[in-house]
């Protein structure tokens, strides 16, 4: 072996050695658990939880279908479809609400003088210091039957009896929108803050109305921030667990709660694993759509 080839081999070895910690961590904490979930989804549920090492497709079957316990007829699982539909719908709605609230908020902060911006950003990030559970329970305190709103409205005689707000889709939506709002504001703020307002001035000079300028100049330039914010809200919403558990209870369950149930009371680990993988697939679809939107070649307007 000549010297050059040996040098090259050394180089390759060194690169592998340098990559080892990262590869180890990814394998241990990302690939291995995923493989485990995939394997479990193809096993038979044990009698008291856990799994029997017996190949079975019942787990995957159970994601969408159910078998009648008496006559074995197969039908779509209404409960699962409802929960899946609700999860997607509530996540989309959460994304929409945070967009409607977050974009103007981000715009407001980004257009303040540089010194004030830090203060407003600080205000936005304060809720992050509090535990998610505490924040969610705080929202619950506002809307429960004996909570702040109902008490106030009763006292003002706007209503005769407390309005049922807890354990509804509205409650879950409110909780998620509140919890995830900063995730929308921050990336949108970052995009608007980078926007060169001299471009808006140039558009204004070139006979553009305010609306035309917003549509043709500002929006296309800050769009990546808006998409990033939407993804950052949509993905955790889809897999939300704590908020729907507290705000929705058993009535407004989401995917995360359904999965948890399979590992708890349901004692159906393979079904839980299959549902978890379904959720992962949904997130993946959203991410692929996101990369398409941001990096894909846009057609000329």
């Amino acid at each position: 072996m000549d010297a050059e080839a040996r040098l090259q081999q050394d180089d390759t070895r060194r690169r592998w050695a340098l990559a080892l910690p990262a590869v180890t961590i990814i394998t241990l904490f990302s690939i291995l658990p995923l493989v485990l979930v995939v394997v479990y989804s193809f096993l038979t549920p044990g009698d008291f939880g856990n799994v029997k090492w017996q190949l079975s497709f019942e787990g995957w079957f159970g994601v969408l279908f159910e078998r009648d316990i008496f006559d074995d007829t197969v039908s779509f699982s209404d409960a699962h479809l409802t929960i899946l539909g609700r999860s997607v719908a509530l996540s989309l709605a959460t994304t929409f609400i945070t967009l409607v609230l977050g974009v103007p908020t981000a715009w407001f902060i980004a257009t303040r003088p540089a010194r004030q911006r830090a203060f407003w950003l600080f205000m936005i990030t304060i809720p992050f210091w509090t535990n998610l559970l505490v924040r969610t329970i705080a929202v619950q305190e506002m809307i429960r039957s004996e909570g702040v709103f109902n008490s106030l409205f009763l006292w003002l005689r706007v209503i005769d009896a407390p309005i049922q707000m807890m354990f509804t889709n509205f409650a879950v939506l409110l909780g998620m929108a509140y919890v995830f709002l900063p995730l929308m504001v921050l990336p949108v703020y970052a995009a608007i803050e980078k926007f060169d307002f001299r471009l808006a001035e140039a558009a204004y000079d070139l006979y553009a109305s305010r609306l035309y300028c917003a549509r043709k100049v500002i929006l296309p330039i800050v769009r990546p921030g808006i998409i990033a914010g939407s993804i950052l809200v949509f993905i955790p919403s889809l897999s939300a667990y704590v908020t729907p558990r507290i705000m929705g209870g058993g009535k407004s369950m989401m995917l995360g709660n359904l999965i948890e149930m399979q590992f708890g009371q349901g004692r159906n680990w393979p079904l839980g694993a299959a549902l978890a993988l379904t959720l992962t697939a949904l997130v993946l679809v959203a991410l692929v759509w996101y990369t398409r939107l941001t990096s894909g070649k846009r057609k000329d307007v």
């Binding site: 001035e201 140039a202 204004y204 109305s209 043709k216």
Partner: protein, 353 residues
Amino acid sequence: MLDLRNLTKRFGKGDSAFTALHEVSFSIKEGEFFTLLGPSGCGKTTLLRMIAGFEPPSGGALVLDGRDIAQMPPNRRPVNTVFQNYALFPHMTVAENVGFALSAMGRPKAEISETTVRMLDLVQLSHLAHRKSGELSGGQQQRVALARALAPKPRILLLDEPLSALDMKLRKEMQVELKRLQQETRLTFVFVTHDQEEALTMSDRIAVMNGGRIQQIATPRELYDQPANRFVAGFIGETNFLPAHCTKGLLTLPQAAASLPVSYADGPVTLMVRPEHILLGETQASALTLTARVERLVYFGTDTHVHLQAEGELTLIARVQNGMRSGAPYREGETVTISLPSEALRLLPQEVA
């Protein structure tokens, strides 16, 4: 065509109030290359932004073609701007940038593409029509910005220090190019710059500004030869200032033996003479003659600057053209006779420095 009448701009309120423009009045003629020249902070950019519509005036009128446009928003004024940083839309192609104004006005597609082609032709960038604006060099971006502002056929084109970001060579080329465009389109250009050379080479008329006031409005030659005050004289070209005195129609300079007959009010005056007008080693009939010591010689290629020291701490700079013969015409430390010809002298009122 465009009349500025007592235009005033104040920023802030109370104690922190700052007046950027003090009752500025002048007129710009149709088809003129008009330059606002002054040091930074003189109010020239504020004035330009006021014509564009970005700064509402605190007082006064802005009359374009007989109509007061002072309160009209920028998107309704038939005035377009070439911005200092070009402000091209980074997400659009060159052609989309150029067609932006016409699209915003809702003109038909055929007209937009026809105008875009013509404008890109005018600035010689047709081959780059489909590039993104971020992929262009500074000079090319400059041309796109020009084409974009010219496309909607404005009554006035405003240019806010458009050449300041370019390197020296490109700047000289663009100066010629801008003048060509202005003559070809016969459009009124209002050009803002702090570079006196740029102003002198391109403009039909120049307004020299300082401290929010117009100091003088004149052609480049008039500004150079007959500056209205010490600021204009000092800002444009190089100048020597000499304190002198007028008594009964006679101008006396303490360092010169003879005095000159002048028609000027009695009292202390400032005498101004350009370095290239000082004659070294020669005497003239109608001139102030004095002796001075050569302090330093600075070689500039085409000419040599001679730093002179006369009596009473008076320093002067003379500029001597370098002839074909080699070698310095003077030696440092040498004493020479210099004369200031009467036709080269300008009298300015003495100002408190």
